[in-house]
Amino acid sequence: MTLYFDHAASTPVDPAVAAAVAAALADPALQANPAATHAPGRAAHEQVEAARARVAALIGARPAEIVWTSGATEANNLAVLGAARFRASRGRHLVVSPLEHASVLAACRQLEREGFTITWLDPDRDGLIDPAQVAAALRADTTLVAVMAVNNETGVVQDVAAIGAICRARGVLLHVDAVQAAGREPLDVVAQQVDLLSLSAHKMYGPKGVGALFIDGTTLRRVAPLFHGGGQERGLRPGTLATHQLLGMGLAAELARTRLGTDRCGQTSLRDALWMALARVPGVLLNGHPLRRSCHIVNVSVEGVDGESLLLALETLAVSSGAACASASGEPSPVLRRLGRSDALAQSSIRFSLGRGTTAAEIEAAAAIFAAGVAHLRRLAPPAVA
């Protein structure tokens, strides 16, 4: 049996969400196009709008500020490309954290090809961005800052509110990828002064294939769409809305909001117990800030072992690894490299990510499997070079 410690990659669908999605798919009253004006269409539309309100409530937004997308990758692309392109006449400079998700980084590289300039922030060795550094990087032609709330690899939590205050004072838009933060950290787009914020359903116990982008009301008409079509989502994201998916995300958001305190408290104590157990193995290093971290991620590097072998030694654990990243891209994790880890340590990194269903017994079992796996590889390893 595999113990699941990969909730940062995807969470299991909450049973209540799965039931609601299945019921919506089977309900003849919800099969119409939600954009249609007839009664079945209006019934579907009502469900879509109820879901929109639930997603908005999760982040302190108004329902009209939520735009449905196919997931966070699309939301991040729409935010970065759409906002930068729309405001290109005002300026073509962006300030971006290099620790962003690939979907933000790739969108920024696309903007560079279009003639935009990016100032890359320089996180410290714990993965934190100093808000003062953001302030210093802003220029008269800066239009957008992008900083993720919780890093998907290390779980490090950024001071979004401080960065938001700086951006708002300078009239610069702030985009926050909040995919890992949703349901784990309090989110309030008003208090944190966020202009654009991305969410993904399947990272908060909802279905895959659906996400959302919050666009502040005053910014709403100042984002250029990526797609062109029938005018749904106020022309920002045309295409027929998938009622059952949106309903599922709405319920997932509702559960994330109402369970935030319980989930956060429970996972924090389990996370700390896991780290304490892992740290008993010599040569295990915590990646990211020891305190400013989300409740669900423990990322460690292991000295003196090969990452790919470590992953096989831990095959009864569903975890993510720097070795897995390397096999996909041919490079060690850029995030861990930015934190000053060597190629070898970045490659031997393992990310444990906890979820609602994680138990203390699973933590204990995972720690034992980890210790045994590392011990196996170290028994095989040649003695250290003097």
């Binding site: 072992v305 090969d306 790919e308 072998s309 096989l312 190629d343 070898a344 095989l380 040649p382 070079v385």
Partner: protein, 130 residues
């Protein structure tokens, strides 16, 4: 990642893992290759009696394919003539264990370690004994 069954078996239950203990009638020869910074390092130890490898053992840091290949090579080369260490070619093992071609670089480091082990024996032999 899915690994061939033979690789999995040798990864979880490797044979011929060092350190090697030698008897008074045997000579301990060692060959090392690779580096920790490169991510692959192999130490091969051989118990040699005259020109015969009596036992071989390895210790290695590397991917599962490399660890399996090291283990299998030790079994294939001992007991046997010490000259076989220098003549080792990885192609046969790659076929036998289903090792993908992108891992050839790691297996060439195993080849280097075996050759260095042979050299360790060879350089101490009287000229006539080689």
């Amino acid at each position: 990642m899915d690994y061939p069954e033979a690789v999995r078996r040798l990864f979880f239950n490797p044979e011929c893992v060092g350190p090697l203990l030698v008897r008074s009638t045997e000579r301990l020869c060692r060959g090392e290759a690779g580096s920790d910074t490169a991510g692959v390092r192999i130490l091969v130890e051989a118990a040699v009696q005259e020109d015969q490898v009596v036992r071989l053992a390895f210790r290695a840091r590397g991917c599962p394919y490399l660890l399996a290949a090291c283990s299998r090579a030790m079994v294939l080369l001992a007991p046997g003539p010490v000259g076989a260490l220098a003549a080792f070619e990885p192609a046969g093992l790659m076929g036998e264990l289903g090792i993908p071609t992108e891992k050839l670089g790691s297996l060439l480091i195993l080849q280097d370690a075996l050759r260095n082990c042979f050299r360790d024996w060879d350089t101490t032999q009287p000229a006539g004994a080689r």
